[in-house]
């Protein structure tokens, strides 16, 4: 039997729970009454506000301007008025300013019209991507124009499109690939036009067979120079380092970027956003959010305006079950637990999960480490989580830094597999914070 490619070191196989929502077609959330649009929806510096309290804004209008190279513009997702500029805390505990926009319920949206792009230069297209505030939709929200600008002297070998979606529960990229196949592929071609790669690869995990088939049939129909690679199912294949290892067998050295091995990685969602930006002049003002989890009454994939309060999204999905114990924004492996349903959906929110309350344990949450070595075996970065955790617990942050704590990307494989249920990732986050001091 032919074995599908994957990355070699570490990784885990959590139950993927995608069956909860993967057959649900994307629905569109009607505009709620109020949206909260934060100025920091991306990695890097928050955007500078361009509007003030009381200003009227139009759908797609720029309301926040990128403040540095690694930053992104923010646009209004709706027609309405700014009622307040409020300090809020996002799911990832980042505090930033946010516009509270009262939606013009009579006339909330505008129509976007299509423009041809093939005659434009790569630079012009890149300018569009930057102007319309496109960021990675996979979760890390890295500004896309930074990723796509290839410095002089460097060339792109491969453009790798990330359709892996390895996090359990999440199905938004899956639905996107199925339902908007042509648009995604056109977005990929736009990105290829900008970066001029030698080859283009779409990596999709083999638990999305229908998406792989659909992509392949459209590609062959349109005769596009894109290869779709079916990958073995293994977490965290959606990380760009693991994805590149699996698809083009290159390892990005510590502290380096994909470009250093001649690759550019884009998420399918980002490719779609690039398509909308270039063809329709439409910034990211909405995105598909998977609403799932055992404690969620209805599981859905919802096209949601950015800034929608999570409470509104939950209400659209029929509310929560009584046994809800934890709310998570993003996937269960790397997403953030939160407690306040008044925080908004942002550009990087791929899912909202309601997880059941676990049976309360009488004793401590975790038992002592028995050095079983499982965390070491599953760490895709080749670190020793148990040793790092011990060092961090004993406040030896510098020692932990010496053992490459910074290589940790908090994928959660270690904590998932730890039989002692040690909060290993929490430890790594703590160590990084204290080590940086």
């Amino acid at each position: 039997m032919h074995r599908l490619p994957t990355f070699r070191k570490g990784g885990i196989h959590p139950g993927d729970k995608k069956e909860l929502s993967q057959s649900q077609p994307v629905e569109r959330l009607p505009f709620p009454d109020e949206l909260i649009v934060p100025l920091s929806q991306h990695l890097g510096a928050p955007a500078n506000p361009l509007k003030e309290k009381g200003d009227a804004v139009g759908m797609g209008e720029m309301i926040g301007e990128a403040s540095s190279f690694i930053s992104a513009n923010i646009h209004s997702p709706v027609n309405g008025t700014i009622t307040e500029i409020r300090q809020i805390t996002l799911m990832n505990s980042v505090s930033c300013k946010a516009f509270v926009i009262k939606v013009d319920t009579e006339n909330p949206a505008v129509e976007f019209t299509a423009h041809p792009w093939k005659d434009k230069s790569g630079e012009q297209l890149l300018g569009k991507v930057k102007e319309l505030g496109i960021v990675g939709t996979g979760g890390a929200t890295f500004p896309t124009h930074v990723k796509l600008s290839v410095p002089k002297g460097k060339s792109v070998e491969s453009l790798v499109i990330n359709g892996v979606e390895c996090e359990p529960y999440l199905t938004s990229d899956h639905r996107l690939m199925l339902e908007q196949t042509e648009q995604v592929l056109e977005g990929i071609m736009i990105a290829a036009h900008i970066t001029e790669p030698k080859n283009i690869i779409v990596g999709v995990e083999n638990n999305k067979k229908d998406a792989i088939e659909r992509l392949r049939s459209v590609i062959s129909e349109k005769k596009l120079p894109i290869e779709v690679v079916a990958l073995q199912v293994k977490y965290p294949q959606g990380d760009e380092k693991q994805l590149l290892k699996a698809t083009i067998n290159r390892e990005i050295p510590s502290g380096k970027l994909p470009l250093d091995v001649g690759a550019v990685v884009l998420n399918v969602g980002t490719a779609f956003a690039v398509y909308e930006a270039v063809v329709y002049n439409k910034p990211i003002i909405d995105r598909i959010v998977t609403v799932s989890g055992e404690a969620m009454k209805e599981k859905k994939n919802v096209r949601t305006p950015i800034g929608t309060k999570i409470a509104d999204l939950i209400a659209f999905s029929g509310g929560l079950n009584d046994n809800v114990g934890k709310m998570v924004a993003g996937g269960p492996m790397m997403g953030f637990a939160f407690y306040d349903d008044q925080i908004p959906v942002i550009k990087g929110t791929s899912g909202i999960l309601a997880l059941e309350r676990k049976k309360e344990k009488k004793v401590k949450i975790s038992t002592p480490c028995i050095s079983c070595g499982k965390c070491v075996a599953v760490c895709p970065m080749g670190l020793q989580p148990t040793r790092l955790f011990r060092l961090i617990e004993n406040r030896q942050y510098e020692q932990a830094m010496k053992l490459n704590l910074m290589d940790c990307k908090e994928c959660g494989c270690c904590a998932y597999s730890c039989p002692s249920e040690l909060p290993l990732v929490h430890g790594m986050k703590l160590g990084k914070k204290m080590g940086r001091k």
């Binding site: 505990s93 407690y339 617990e393 406040r395 909060p423 929490h426 430890g427 986050k429 703590l430 914070k433």
Partner: protein, 265 residues
């Protein structure tokens, strides 16, 4: 005869070896920093790091090289700084008042509302990573006791109400707890200070009232009615100016509606 031999042998051995060592001592001579060693002998040797140098020897080295200021050693206090200045010949001890740490919060889980149920490492900085702690008050104590762990002299303890307290008698003022505390709710106050405001919340009174029954609601009673107490309210929080503190502060403490002015002892 035998005794003579014995004597001679030992003497000869000693002579040869002594000579060899003398030569070697010349050849491998290394200059020693005498001043640093003298200073090190005077320092308390707690290696607490309050001076900002790696241990007492680091501070001693820096002092002897003139790269560090005298008087940084809080455990040693004025006595040490005087002795150091004598060695360095700079003259004049640096007057330092004994400062002790104080936890400006009495908001345990019973009196302060909680946003969520925290699960994770029992470390304040770890809890702070998740929405700045589980307490609804984002300025207060996380009650996980990281300061207890870093205290070199076991001066910090948890009282029966789960509040974190500092024993001013044991505290050597090394400031390690203030550095580890993610909310900076531990601040240094003078040892002589009798009272302190046990709150660190800068939110408006109405907000505080909602989440905590022992928080400062910035009602300004202490400031207005007891002008000589030393209490001043700024940025929605009362604080004691110890330069102006008088006995009147006891009355202010009694009058405080939320009883957040407490004795510092």
């Amino acid at each position: 005869m035998n005794i003579l031999f014995a004597f001679l042998v030992i003497a000869a051995l000693a002579l040869v070896l002594g000579f060899a060592l003398a030569v070697a001592a010349k050849k491998f001579a290394v200059e020693k920093d005498v001043t640093a060693e003298q200073i090190l002998a005077i320092l308390p040797g707690a290696n607490c790091g309050a001076c900002g140098f790696p241990g007492c020897s680091g501070y001693a080295d820096a002092l002897s090289k003139g790269t560090a200021e005298n008087g940084l050693c809080s455990p040693g206090g004025a006595k040490t700084s005087k002795a150091v200045s004598e060695i360095l010949g700079t003259g004049g001890a640096v007057e330092t008042e004994k400062m002790v740490a104080f936890v400006h919060c009495r908001g345990n889980h019973e009196v302060t509302a909680q946003d969520y149920e925290y699960r994770g490492i029992s470390d304040c900085n770890a809890a702070h990573l998740l929405f700045k702690g589980d307490s609804s008050c984002k300025f207060g104590c996380h009650h996980l006791g990281s300061c207890i762990e870093v205290c070199p002299v076991e001066a910090i303890y948890r009282d029966e109400k789960d509040n974190i307290m500092v024993d001013p008698e044991k505290c050597i003022g090394c400031k390690k707890c203030t550095l580890v505390c993610p909310t900076q709710v531990i601040k240094m106050i003078p040892y002589r200070g009798s009272h302190a405001v046990a709150c660190n919340n800068h939110d408006k009174g109405a907000v505080v009232r909602k989440i905590c029954s022992v928080g400062c609601i910035a009602c300004k009673i202490c400031e207005r009615k007891f002008p000589e107490s030393g209490c001043t309210v700024s940025d929605n929080l009362s604080s004691v100016d110890y330069a102006k503190e008088t006995a009147q502060i006891a009355d202010a403490a009694a009058a405080c509606p939320t009883k957040c002015i407490v004795t510092a002892k």
